[in-house]
């Protein structure tokens, strides 16, 4: 039991350590696709280190909430990512928190992020916060629909049960999984602020969403906010690859199984990042007022996933 908790702790640390690497790899692939050499894969680590050691300035008008928010956002996101099985399957963290808790933790982080954006009272912060809340209010029902589709298949809302069920079934062509996969991808793109919804690599006043909220942050506060955003991307990536392609996850805590699990998840995330980079290079950012239609499609896919599970997959 102790070793299980130890591995859970190690896995949570691994999540935090891998998150900047995923972003670095994504940027590198994107740069190569645009015929640039791009920065090193390790550049996000250097950025975080630089920000952590820089002086932290806070605006005169900021309330204590402004100072606390980065810690809450980071810890909530980190806890959420710790509940997703990354390398090993049967972990105690995943037993105490199911997918609904995960969605709730992400909502908590987002709530404080939006509050912090509005706290200083600048125009951009408020604008970014209101946009973020609009997107998340539309994305959350779609995410829950996708989650319910998975939960109905496995008869449990625990992520571990979902993955175990999928592994035990072997290779099945489930229409409901296909729809839930589409819904989850669309929600992940919207929630992580990737290209059709938000552009993470620009500070353009009229279009930015996430960057507008953290505009007033400096130093270690900014480092925590950036790190939390990277963790969120990793979390959604792990959710997508490990729920729909759970092959390679370690079933026991032996060193061989854990090593294989680590290699498998790194490979899967690497491939997912390449797909995401190609998508971001091919697509253009859409207007903000098109985003509701985009998320409606995600909701429709989630609903169709639920319905096709009931209609097509449950035998009498």
């Amino acid at each position: 039991m102790l070793s299980a908790w130890l591995i859970a702790l190690l896995q949570a640390l691994l999540c935090a350590a891998l998150a900047p690497l995923l972003v670095g790899w994504l940027r590198k692939v994107k740069a190569r696709l645009q015929n640039r050499r791009g920065a090193s894969v390790l550049q996000p680590y250097a950025d975080l280190r630089k920000l952590l050691f820089k002086e932290t300035r806070v605006a005169h008008t900021a309330s204590p909430l402004f100072r606390i928010a980065p810690y809450i956002v980071f810890v909530a996101t980190w806890l959420a990512s710790a509940t997703v099985p990354l390398v090993a399957l049967d972990l105690p963290t995943a037993q105490i928190a199911d997918i609904i808790v995960l969605v709730g933790l992400l909502a908590l982080a987002r709530f404080f992020l939006a509050l912090a954006g509005m706290d200083v009272g600048t125009a951009f912060g408020g604008m970014g916060a209101s946009r973020e809340m609009m997107i998340s209010a539309l994305a959350e029902p779609a995410l829950l629909m996708a989650v319910f589709t998975l939960a109905m298949t496995a008869h449990s809302t625990s992520l571990v049960s979902v993955m175990q069920h999928h592994l035990a079934d072997g290779f099945l062509l489930r229409p409901s999984y296909l729809f839930a996969f589409g819904a989850l991808i669309l929600v992940a793109v919207a929630e992580c602020g990737r290209i059709p919804v938000d552009n993470p690599s620009t500070h353009l006043e009229l279009t930015m969403i996430h960057e507008a909220m953290v505009l007033e942050y400096t130093g270690r506060h900014l480092a925590l906010m950036e790190w939390a955003a990277q963790l969120k991307l990793l979390l959604y990536g792990v959710l997508v690859v490990n729920v729909f392609f759970p092959w390679g996850l370690a079933g026991d805590f032996g060193p061989v199984a854990l090593g294989l699990g680590l290699v498998a998840v790194v490979l899967k995330l690497g491939v997912l990042a390449v797909v995401l980079a190609v998508g971001e290079t091919v697509l253009a950012k859409m207007r903000l007022f098109r985003v509701p239609a985009f998320l409606n499609l995600a909701l429709l896919l989630g609903l169709l996933g639920l319905l096709s599970h009931v209609i097509l997959e449950v035998g009498t």
Partner: protein
Amino acid sequence: MSLTVMTLLQQFVLLLAALALFLSFVLLAQPRLVAAIHVFAWQGALVAAVTFTVALAGDASHLYFSALLTLGLKALLIPWMLHRLARRLELERHTETLARPTLVIMAAVVLVIFSYWVVVPMVAQGLAFTRNIIAVSLAVVLIGLLMMVFRQQAVAQVLGFMSMENGLFLAAVSATAGMPLVVELGVAFDVLVAMVLFGVFFFQIRESIDSLDVDRLNRLTETVEVEEGGG
């Protein structure tokens, strides 16, 4: 029959049918005419693929011919004719403004649930593995009907009609392993003739009201003049 006891080919049939249902939704909410014609062509191709896979999985060799007929007619010939019509009517860049698209999509979701509820007693009778598809095909028929009610543009209404026919064909394949060849040829010929007649009608409608917005057919010319005089 649960999914776990089916063969991979049978699961593939279900997957294709679910995708055909999804394309019905896309067709319903697609405002661009040419894109909608392409979606319709893909749906026809999916129905043909379902027929082909049912033939493979169930050893029903007469279905190969139906699959070929569907592919040629629904996925190639009719979309080509519609595309040519759209070009000749100069509707290639036409974009319809849909009133309340989200509400219509939700209505379509309700139709899917309704068709499942209708089909449940029939499913209890026991059929082959394709019986689960009957609810899906009924939903495709109803969504096609909804599209004819909801769209104002005449070509889009014809697309709804044609996708209804797709749903009927899917139902025939899944419920009875296909219709007799004579019936099938007759229906195919009917659809083709309907397509030609629709083409003639499009030109007639446009000549008389100078638009393909069918809602304008409801108004009498006299009333419009009186209103204009009064206003």
